[in-house]
């Protein structure tokens, strides 16, 4: 199919559409936003797989572990569908996911930490190559089916995970997050992210001591649903979930969900929150998309986390984390 847009442009365009739907007359159109989220998912899958492929190529090129630039440790993504989506009837998906996600990690876990903004420009501007149709066609290769057909596309994030080359992998992760609505920068520290990246990387499944950390301290911020890692992990790596992502009180994914459902029951008009989140920041992946209410003026503090839980109704509006 002739495509004059690369994956990143498509992502930008899609986010813009979701954003502008906030202000359209008649309220947010659930159907249209759902369809846009599918495009977002498809484009993101391609984008991530391309970056991943690039990373792998570079790795081959520099086997001694010179610091490489790589982005996502494991494409959470499409594969990162909430557990509920596991039930979706797309048998090809599981294959796709296994083939793709964490593939490079498994391959050798030589991934090194990289700030994404330093990613080679050519990755960011990767044109929609011929490989992209192939990307979609070949089952077992990085296929879009990996999304589990879910509407949980658009969960874009990249956790930085630092693996010492050749040595015992360790994860120290620090993610800087810019809230586009309030323009406040927060740094998410180890306790939180460590588990997340561990859950995806078999190479690093030792929970760091003190991992059962207290609830996100003020200044930290929850960005996505750790429950997804639980699910992904369960399906692909068969590991019990290094570090117990699921259900740990500090992370409160369950709590979050419970709140979500509660809130959802009281506020049937979920779709109105969908577009509250997204702004575009620079090029597609270098901004945080905050899931706040459109009218929220909450100061960015620890409270925000719980409020965000309450506010996180929109099905598929997502956080895009900036390094």
């Amino acid at each position: 199919m002739e495509c004059t847009l690369d994956a990143q442009s498509l992502i930008s365009i899609s986010l813009r559409k979701i954003h502008s739907s906030r202000t359209q007359r008649g309220g947010i159109k659930l159907h249209k936003n759902l369809l846009v989220s599918y495009v977002l998912r498809n484009a993101r899958q391609l984008y991530l797989s391309e970056r991943y492929a690039e990373l792998y190529r570079r790795q081959q090129h520099y086997p001694d572990g010179a610091p490489l630039l790589a982005m996502p440790v494991c494409p959470p993504p499409a594969a990162a569908a909430p557990p509920e989506l596991a039930a979706l009837p797309l048998p090809a998906d599981t294959q796709d996911r296994e083939a793709r996600s964490c593939g490079a990690a498994r391959g050798g876990a030589e991934l090194l930490e990289v700030p994404v903004c330093a990613a080679p420009p050519e990755l960011q501007r990767a044109p929609c190559r011929d490989s992209s149709p192939g990307f979609y066609r070949a089952p077992g290769s990085a296929g879009p089916g990996g999304g589990g057909g879910g509407a949980a596309p658009g969960l874009l994030y990249a956790a930085g995970c630092d693996f010492g080359s050749g040595g015992a992998p360790h994860c120290s992760s620090r993610t800087t997050v810019l809230d586009l609505d309030t323009h406040v920068v927060t740094t998410v520290e180890n306790g939180y992210l460590h588990q997340d990246c561990c859950s995806q990387c078999p190479c690093c499944c030792q929970p760091a001591p003190g991992l059962a950390s207290p609830p996100p301290a003020p200044g930290t911020k929850r960005k996505y649903y750790p429950g997804q890692e639980e699910e992904e992990e369960g399906v692909e790596e068969g590991e019990p979930g290094g570090g117990g992502v699921a259900g740990g009180p500090p992370f409160a994914p369950c709590t979050k969900r419970a709140r979500f459902e509660e809130y959802s029951a009281e506020h049937p008009q979920d779709s109105s929150n969908i577009s509250n989140l997204i702004s575009i920041f620079g090029s597609g992946f270098t901004g945080l998309v905050s899931r706040q209410q459109a009218d929220s003026e909450q100061p960015l503090n620890g409270q925000l986390c719980s409020k965000q839980a309450l506010a996180s109704l929109g099905a598929w509006t997502r956080a895009i984390v900036a390094f």
Binding site: C3, G26, H31, L35, L46, R137, A151
Partner: protein
């Protein structure tokens, strides 16, 4: 004209009959026609627009003096059906645009129709008044009250003829039952109930009761993050009052039987065609979303419209459609641009002719397409002012897909995507079609030999 008339493409020549609407270059958004529907006899033709107005045209009686003017449609009634509203609780504006109009079968002298916007369905009664009472005792001809003490004799008021007046009154308002945007309404064959469908739910109403409705389909997941599809259209079976279908954004159709359970979340039949993996693209999900579903008049088939095709399904075969027609496949390579300019989200409708032998749907550049199911021929016609001379025969149009463009062909890149025909209607028993082109309504008839 028999119902089984001129269904063969080669026999039917379509002629321009009328066009309604202004010729102004700038189109007022409120004038954009958003729905078109003939009533059950074809005598009336209703349109709804973005401004919340309904205009009803009535076919004039055929005149022996002018047999070639086979009954023109003239304005019969115009009224404001819906107004813009504001939901203060949710800070949402509710558009007044009329999404659908459905007629009730006529049971007395008055006409009844349902019209709906995103949130509220209304039952309108359209009736004629051609007499008025005169000779009241307590008030004079101007309506001023008389002083009762001045009245010395009584008389019985009489009805005198007056100029015909058509009045539309809202008889029922069915509100507050939909959280999401209503996309369909469908009158049941029992003529006592109807359904309204939004993105996630379908409600069943009794015409007499406005303060309650039964929820018969609910696909809202417990966790909205699990949402993967929405309801896009729904319709009752034309004869079986317990059966209805609804289509989804995933390109599937479910047929439900209300006798099996109060909540019809479990379908009786599930129609889905496997995806062709070679056609996979970024936009596969969008173009497979069904924008319209219609039962055939016979009740044996359903027709669905997605972005590029129209499909006919046999109710007895769930695994694939029996017929697939390409509406404008040349757009397949343009999906990126169509996504950028939002055209890919356009919701085209589709209609059957009276004998279920021909189906029709719209396209861009004010083109519309007809497919003859028997001969497998198809034709592309255009609704334009240039072809609007009285009884002018419409010339088939052709889109050239590359290579040499012939003289009368139009190339894909020259198509005007702002001129889209989303709504069409076919007279229930004759070859008369109504085609909505933005703010103009075109009426075409077949050539009278």
């Amino acid at each position: 004209f028999l119902a089984g008339f001129g269904s063969l493409m080669q026999d039917v020549l379509w002629c321009f009959s009328q066009v309604k609407g202004t010729i102004d270059v700038g189109v007022t958004e409120a004038d954009i026609i958003s729905t078109v529907e003939f009533n059950h006899t074809g005598e009336l033709l209703a349109t709804g627009d973005k401004g919340g107005r309904v205009v009803i045209f009535q076919r004039e009686q055929e005149s022996k003096n002018q047999p070639h003017r086979r009954g023109e449609y003239n304005v019969y009634s115009t009224f404001q059906s819906h107004e813009p509203e504001f939901d203060y609780l949710k800070s949402l504006e509710i558009e007044e645009k009329i999404n659908k109009i459905r007629w009730l079968p006529q049971q007395n002298a008055a006409y009844f129709l349902l019209s709906t916007n995103d949130k509220t369905v209304k039952l309108w009664k359209v009736s004629e008044r051609d007499k008025r009472p005169e000779g009241y005792n307590l008030k004079d001809e101007d309506g001023r009250l008389r002083d009762p003490s001045m009245i010395t004799m009584l008389r019985v008021p009489v009805l005198r003829p007056m100029d015909l007046m058509v009045e539309a009154t809202p008889r029922r308002v069915f509100a507050n039952a939909h959280t999401y945007h209503i996309n369909s309404i469908s009158v049941n064959s029992d003529y006592e109930t109807y359904m309204s469908a939004d993105d996630l739910r379908i409600n069943l109403w009794n015409f007499e009761i406005t303060n309650q409705s039964f929820n018969i389909v609910d696909i809202k997941p417990a966790n909205m993050e699990e949402l993967t599809e929405v309801i896009t259209a729904a319709e009752f079976h034309p004869h079986h009052c317990n059966t209805f279908v609804y289509s989804s954004s995933k390109g599937t159709i479910r047929l439900c039987d209300m006798r099996t359970a109060a909540l019809c979340d479990r379908h009786a039949k599930f129609f889905e065609e496997p995806e062709d993996p070679s056609n996979r693209s970024f936009f596969s999900e969008i173009i497979s979303s069904i924008s319209d579903v219609k039962f055939s008049h016979s009740g044996r088939y359903i027709m669905t419209r997605d972005y590029l095709t129209v499909k006919v399904w046999d109710l007895n075969m769930e695994n694939r459609p029996i017929e697939t027609y390409q509406v404008h496949d040349y757009l397949r390579s343009k999906l990126c641009s169509l996504y950028e300019n939002d055209c890919i989200f356009d919701k085209f409708e589709c209609v059957w002719n009276g004998s279920d032998s021909v189906i029709m749907t719209g396209s861009y550049n004010n083109f519309f397409r007809m497919f003859d199911r028997n001969t497998k021929r198809d034709v592309t016609l255009e609704a334009s002012r240039e072809n609007s001379k009285p009884r002018a025969i419409l010339k088939p149009r052709k889109v050239c897909v590359g290579g040499k463009r012939r003289k009368d062909e139009i190339s894909v890149d020259s198509l005007d995507f702002s001129k889209k025909i989303l709504h069409t209607a076919w007279h229930p028993s004759e070859n008369i079609i109504a085609v909505a082109a933005t703010n103009n309504l075109y009426i075409f008839q077949d050539k009278v030999n």
